[in-house]
């Protein structure tokens, strides 16, 4: 029984790591209807920039600030050079554009900062904590807390600040928002910057766990089932989806895996997403789309 609890809790915590990545996607999808495939590359780029600055001797806080500034600059560039020319195009076109963007960011990241693997020490020891008989990873716990704090900050941002409300207006009805004078371009720049910062946080945590290296950008593929289950437009959904995916994946690998030869982690989350889609095509917390002829 304690194995089950341990697997379950461990999975929940691991799932928050997925949620962190998914939140970045949700932000951009909410604001512009674009599934940003480049989020993974941006995550890698942010983490790599931070680590490179830190290794060059710049203190933690300063490196963090510099990275954030670079991300903001990047978001402005993306909005002007890619999003504006492609306004009003189909979601598929925008998706392909983000795919192209991911190549640019990856090539840029590795070209400028090298392909070497970097260690990222955030000062969080990955030692086990024992609650009774159940082993919990301290690192995962910190990650979970970070995720919750992040969600809290974002919730405040969206509900209480002017920019946040403008963002929701744009997401809700772009034309109406434009007609009352909300600057869509500025909002998009801000959203992409915030998504970049969220990506930085996620990248730092993932990097601390497995080293800052190219495979960081592959977390995108794990974020997709999380988004499906949680809904593309809900941040709370991203958390819920992450928890579900993390727990289910872990339980499946432990209990179903031995029956069929193991290695189920690559596809189990997707099958789960499929099942969810059957029941709720818009995800747990997503908006239902009503089709009209």
């Amino acid at each position: 029984m304690s194995t089950f609890i341990e697997t379950f809790v461990g999975g929940l915590l691991a799932g928050t790591m997925y949620s962190l990545v998914a939140i970045g996607f949700v932000l951009i999808y909410k604001a512009s209807g674009v599934f940003n495939f480049a989020q993974g590359s941006i995550l890698l780029f942010a983490a790599l920039t931070f680590v490179t600055l830190k290794e060059a001797g710049i203190p933690f806080a300063a490196a963090l600030v510099m990275t954030i500034l670079i991300l903001i600059a990047g978001s402005v560039a993306i909005e002007r050079l890619i999003l504006r020319p492609l306004a009003n195009r189909s979601p598929m076109t925008l998706f392909m554009a983000t795919l192209g963007l991911s190549y640019i960011v990856e090539g840029g990241a590795q070209g400028l900062m090298g392909a070497q693997v970097h260690q990222l020490d955030l000062g969080i020891d990955d030692v086990p904590l024992f609650i009774g008989d159940v082993l919990i990873s301290q690192f995962d716990l910190v990650a979970a807390v970070t995720a919750v704090v992040l969600v809290g900050i974002l919730a405040l941002f969206f509900n209480k600040t002017r920019i946040g409300i403008s963002l929701r207006a744009i997401a809700d009805d772009t034309r109406a928002a434009l007609s009352i004078g909300i600057n869509q371009n500025r909002i998009l720049q801000i959203v992409w910057s915030v998504a970049g910062i969220v990506g930085l946080v996620a990248g730092m945590l993932w990097g601390a766990r497995q080293g800052v290296q190219f495979s960081l950008s592959l977390v995108v593929l794990k974020a997709l089932p999380v988004l499906i289950i949680g809904g593309f437009t809900s941040i709370g959904g991203a958390i819920a989806g992450g928890l579900i995916v993390g727990a289910a994946e872990n339980l499946a690998e432990t209990y179903i895996g031995p029956l069929i030869g193991g290695g189920t982690t690559s596809w189990f989350a997707y099958f789960l997403a499929l099942v969810f889609l059957y029941i709720r095509p818009a995800g747990l917390f997503g908006e239902r789309v009503i089709e009209r002829v």
Binding site: A14, Q116, Q119, G211, E249, G262, G263, T265
Partner: protein, 445 residues
Amino acid sequence: MSRTLRRAIFAALLAGSAAIASPVAQAGPGEQYVPLPTYRVGAYASSGTLWWAGELDYFRYINDVEGGIDGVKLAYEEFETEWSPDRTVEVYERVKDGKDGSPIAFFFTHGTPATYALIEKAAADKIPLIDPAGGRTESTDGTVFPYAFPLLFNYYSQASVGINFIAQKEGGFDKLKGKKIVTVYHDSAYGRETQPAIQLLAKKYGFENIQIPVADPGSEQSAQWRKVREIKPDWVFLRTWGVSTPVAIKTAARFGIPADHIIGDVWAGSEADVIPAGTAAKGYQALAPYPGGPNFDIHARLRKDILDAGKSNLQDPKFFGSVYYNIGLVNAVLAVEALRTGHAKFGNRPLNGEEGRWAFEHLVIDEARLKKIGFLGLLQPIKLSPYDHEGGGAARIQQWDGTKWVLETDWIQADRETLRPLIEAKSAAYAKEHGITPRDPSKEN
């Protein structure tokens, strides 16, 4: 851009592709062309860039300092493949006929999947595929695979050396009986390659062999290591690659598996594999047919003539002597010594594939020669033959002390006699499936 210009570009692309018959660098007359399919982009670039640096530095040393191999300089050239076997095949097709009058004597595949993809083509084109510490294990049997060389250390030998080291640590082979040895492996052909060998050795020595797969890319392994903790093994053999290695080491530490009872295989034993794991990796051991360290004789020579002279391919001199850099050095020296062997027989000129095969099959590097070329301790003494395309089968064990790799043992030999029947069974099966009659090397020159 006008529509005519767009169509013109498309037509130019198509026509231009016909013109891209050969790439850019020029091989001079009498130079041996050495194409290198490399990967400096993508997930594996971190290991790749150091590997090529080692190879290119040694080739440069041979060219600039020694004036070539018996006067024959090397014209080497890189081609990006992003570790994709499909792209390596395309590169192979591009270069297999050689360049500027020089044929190619061999083809480094730089990756086991690429070897799998090219084995039949290379056999048909008569070009030896060189894949040290990798490749298809059954190609050790040169009678069925004349053109594939899993040089130095095939996957079965890896398993055997791991077990032999464990026996050493436990105090004898008889102590292995009843012990639990878990193998955590990357769920791919690469990860599974050692399974038949370990099974055989488990039967021979009486230890329990448990295999646990990790799906690619292996960023999350709590489920696997939780299981390992339940099993409470005596030793863990880590057969992972890429990001799955540091994650494995870290997760193992989290679940209380001591790092000094985890042994990584060749491709899980570099700096890139342990640095991200931080303190969890202290005490972790790995098989080292290519030990790490910048203090072998060859490093002193390279430091003088290449590194300090600014001719090194390394972007960051801090990586001089790292495990992958040394892998590059060893790969390069094997090629150079093979060519030297070939020159002794065929004359001092560029060699072709068939001559390259002969050269590799008669490659002998003993301790005296190792001392002379500066590789004593870095490369094991090897002797190949048409029956034995591996030639070595030994590795040292190195341990990570938190900042660098420290060599723990001398060369530990694999139990090749026990493993040979397994290899021959597999090569016979391959021969049957593909209708190949094994050649009889005693009838050749």
